[in-house]
Symmetry: C2
């Protein structure tokens, strides 16, 4: 989560909503990819940190399923990313701050509890919650 937070902070400096994600090997913990949101830089509404690390590793490996990988994200994934994590068959999802406004893991759509969800990662939320949330709050405070 340290690295994901570092990514979030890099994102903030670049004017991106500061969320960071890191994809790691489930067994060894080796970092396979890290990213911050690039919605503004790429003018791509789908360029959330989670999508970027999944796409990067899937393409590099030539495999659409990453069953031996875990993802660390500083914020509870949104509906789009929660589904992408499921499609990529990630083993575990560790996230930082809870997101009542946009989250889809323990809020609203609760995708992993839906009958349309065909792979459920193990989920651990609230890791470094205060720090992950503060990066976001500071960003939005400065923009007001």
């Amino acid at each position: 989560m340290r690295l994901a937070l570092e990514e979030a902070r890099i994102g903030a400096e670049r004017g991106e909503v500061p969320v960071g994600a890191v994809l790691v090997d489930s067994e060894t913990g080796e970092v396979l990819a890290r990213a911050h949101n690039r919605v503004e830089a790429d003018t791509d509404p789908t360029a959330h940190a989670e999508i970027l690390v999944i796409r990067e590793v899937a393409r590099r490996r030539g495999e659409k399923r990453l069953v031996d990988c875990d993802i660390y994200v500083t914020l509870e994934p949104c509906t789009m990313c929660a589904a992408a994590i499921s499609f990529a068959r990630l083993k575990r999802l560790y996230f930082g701050a809870y997101d009542p406004k946009g989250g889809a893991v323990v809020h609203a759509a609760r995708f992993y509890e839906q009958p349309t969800c065909h792979h459920r990662p193990e989920v651990v939320g609230g890791i470094d919650e205060a720090e992950c949330g503060e990066v976001l709050r500071a960003f939005f405070r400065a923009r007001r």
Copy 2:
């Protein structure tokens, strides 16, 4: 929807789950982008047809929001794509076949009815439903 169906059929020939999408100008109907799923070709679990047309037009325009665009898709969007359509601020969503197994518009997550959804496109489902569904059924029949 004719063009979206054409894309779905091209996808099927290439071994992709045959779903096609077309992004058009809401006013003029001009076709801005068309795509079929490229999950296999790109080894990218997020390369659904809807994501691909949104990304293509957003990048080409240098705009993350495509408020003057409508999307035609042969199948009810999944949870990931329903959210991406909302994030891109598309005006209208026209889809073909209903998808009880994976849809997130009128099934399961029903994303546009969630408090975490901050833009709801106008939705028309069931356009050329029989034909859109048959392309998918034929594909899966042939694979069994």
